[in-house]
Amino acid sequence: MLAQLQIHERAGEQSCVADNGFCPSWIADNLDRYWTPFLQHVELSVLAVLFGFAIAFALALIARRRRWLVGPIVGITGVLYTLPSIAVFFLLQPITGRGAVTALIALTAYTLLILFRNIVTGLDNVPEETRDAARGMGYTQRQLLWRVELPLALPEIIAGLRIAATTTVGLATLAFFAGAGGLGGQIFADITFKSNVVVAGGLCMLLAVAFDLSLLGAQRVLLPWRRAVAR
C-alpha cells in the first residue's frame, strides 16, 4: 500500500519516471531523500556488528576456559542464524516494540555464529609451541591472551568481522519491517521504480564494500607480519 501511494504521488511527472525507468535527472534531484535511511542503515549495521562482537568475544573467552561450552554455543547461535529474519522481527515486536531495538537484537543475533566461531578458531590455531614458549618465559594467562593469542588470532577474527559486516548490511534492508528504517524502507517504498531501487540498492552495496575495505585496511595495518611472510 505504501508503494502504491508512492506511485500515485509521482504520477503526472515526466515520462521516464512514469515508465518506472532509470532516470539520472530524477536521481540527481531526489538524492537527499536517501540520506536519512542511509544513516539509519549505517547505524544499524555498525551497532549490530559491535554488539555481536562484544557478545561473541565474551562467549569465546568463557568457552576458552570451559571447552565443553563450544558445542552448545555453536548450536544455539547456529539456530539463531537459521531463523527467518522477518519472523524474528515480528516475533520480537510484542516484547521490544517497533523500532531500532527490535531490529538491533535480531541483527546482532545473526552475527554471533560467525564471530564466535572465528574467534574460537583463531585462538585454537595459535601454535602450541608459541603458547608453551610464552608460558615458559613467564607470561601470565592474561598476558598470554592479550599479547600472544589474540594478535595471532586476528586474521581469523577480522575474516569473521568482514563476513558479519557484509551480511548484516544485507539483512538490515529488512529492518524496516521492525520499524527501524534503513535503506530497505526506501527500496520497498517504490519497488517497481527502477531509479529508486538502483539508488537504494546501490547505496547498500557501497556500504557493504566500504565496510569490507576498511576491515581489509585494518588487517593490513594490524598484521604487518602477515605480509612479511608472504613476501
Binding site: P127, M137, P151
Partner: protein, 354 residues
C-alpha cells in the same frame, strides 16, 4: 635466585651468578594414574655446569626439565634453585628468571626478532633504551647482525637463525639457570653441529647452569659436564661425567644406551695432547717416518686416529707451533681403548668449544 636484585636494576648489565640446581627425591604422578612418570629423582648440578638429561622417549626427561620451572607441578620431593624451593615461588615470576628454549623454538610469529628477544625484559618492565641496547648485544652474542635481523619477522629467517634468536631470547635477562629441551633437534646435522659448538663457546663465556634435554647420546656426551641417563618410568639409571659414563656404565641399560662404540666415543672427549705420546725421534727432515701424517697436538683424538687410518700409517708426528712434540701411534690409541687409562685425566678443555 633473587628475582629483584638484577632483573629490575638499571644501567649496564651486571653479570648474574649461575645458580646451583638440586633435585631432591622428586616424584611426579599424573592425576588419575598410579604409575609415576618421575620416580624419586635425586641429583645435583653445580653452578655453571651443563647437565644433560638423556634417555629413550618416554623416560620422563622432558617432564623432569619442566618440573624445574613449574610448567608441570611436583607431586613429591623438591627442586632447589640456588637453595630455594621452586614450590615457594610464583610460577610466572619463577619462569622469568629461568631461560627457556624448546625444540620448536616457539618464536612469536607476529613480533619482530627484536620484539621476540625483548619479551622477558618487557614483562619485567625494563626501560625502552635499555631493552634496545640489550637486544643488539644479545643478537651479536649469538652471531646475528643486529641491524639486519632486528626488524625481521621469524618467518623470514632460516631454521638456524631462528634457533639463535630463541637462545638470545632465553638469555635476555641473563638468567642464572637455562632449560633447553632438544634445542637443536629440528636442525639439519651440519647446522646442528655448528650450533652446538657455538653454544659451547657461548657457555665458556657465560657459564650458565643449564639443564639440557636430548635423546641423542652423542649430543649428551658432547654438551654435558654431567649426564643423567634416565630410563622408562622416570628413574635415574646413572648420573656421571661423560668420561665416567663411557668407561664405567652403571648397568646393562646404560651400556646399551651409550652404545657399542662407547670406546670410540671416548676418543671424541680427548685431544691428542691428553695422552702420553711416544717421544719423537726426528730425522733431518723433521718427520718421524717417511710419509707419516702430521697431526696438531690440540686435535680431537678421534679425528687424529681417523687421519692415521685413512693414510694407512702406523704413526703420526704431533706438532705444536710447528715443532714436533711427540709421536702418536695406532698402538698407543689401542692401548688407551683397552685400559681406559687416560680416563682419569680430564680433558683440559671441552671439545667442540674450539
Amino acid at each position: 635466585m633473587t628475582p629483584h636484585d638484577t632483573a629490575q636494576s638499571e644501567g649496564p648489565f651486571p653479570r648474574r651468578e649461575a645458580a646451583t640446581l638440586a633435585f631432591r627425591d622428586v616424584v611426579k604422578v599424573y592425576e588419575g594414574s598410579t604409575e609415576p612418570v618421575i620416580d624419586h629423582l635425586t641429583f645435583d648440578v653445580g653452578a655453571g655446569e651443563i647437565c644433560v638429561l638423556v634417555g629413550p622417549s618416554g623416560c620422563g626427561k622432558t617432564t623432569a626439565m619442566r618440573l624445574v620451572n613449574r610448567m608441570i607441578d611436583l607431586t613429591e620431593g623438591d627442586i632447589l634453585i640456588g637453595g630455594r624451593s621452586v614450590r615457594d615461588a610464583d610460577p610466572a615470576q619463577l619462569r622469568r628468571e629461568i631461560g627457556y628454549v624448546i625444540q620448536q623454538i616457539g618464536l612469536f610469529p607476529h613480533q619482530t626478532v627484536g620484539e621476540n628477544v625483548a619479551a622477558v625484559p618487557r614483562l619485567l618492565g625494563w626501560r625502552k633504551a635499555r631493552i634496545a641496547e640489550r637486544v643488539d648485544e644479545l643478537l651479536e652474542l649469538v652471531g646475528l647482525d643486529p641491524a639486519a635481523t632486528r626488524d625481521r619477522y621469524p618467518a623470514q629467517l632460516s631454521g638456524g637463525q631462528r634457533q639463535r634468536v630463541g637462545v638470545a631470547r632465553a638469555l635476555a635477562v641473563d638468567p642464572p639457570l637455562m632449560l633447553m629441551d632438544e634445542p637443536f633437534g629440528a636442525i639439519d646435522p651440519i647446522n646442528r653441529e655448528r650450533l652446538q659448538n657455538e653454544f659451547l663457546r657461548l657457555q665458556a663465556q657465560l657459564r650458565k647452569t643449564v639443564v639440557f634435554v636430548t635423546h641423542d647420546i652423542d649430543e649428551a656426551i658432547k654438551m654435558g659436564d654431567r649426564i643423567a641417563v634416565m630410563k622408562t618410568g622416570g628413574r635415574l639409571a646413572q648420573y656421571a661425567t661423560p668420561a665416567e659414563l663411557l668407561v664405567n656404565p652403571a648397568d646393562d641399560f646404560v651400556e646399551g644406551f651409550v652404545g657399542a662404540d662407547r670406546a670410540l666415543k671416548r676418543l671424541s672427549l680427548l685431544r691428542v695432547r691428553d695422552i702420553a705420546l711416544d717421544p719423537a725421534v726426528v730425522d733431518d727432515l723433521g718427520a718421524v717416518a717417511p710419509g707419516a701424517p702430521v697431526v696438531r697436538h690440540d686435535e680431537v683424538l678421534r679425528d687424529a686416529l681417523s687421519e692415521l687410518l685413512q693414510a694407512g700409517a702406523q704413526q703420526a708426528s704431533v706438532v705444536e707451533d710447528g715443532r714436533v712434540v711427540g709421536v702418536l701411534t695406532v698402538e698407543l690409541v689401542g692401548r688407551l681403548l683397552a685400559t681406559g687409562d687416560t680416563a682419569q685425566e680430564a680433558p683440559t678443555e671441552r671439545i667442540g668449544g674450539a
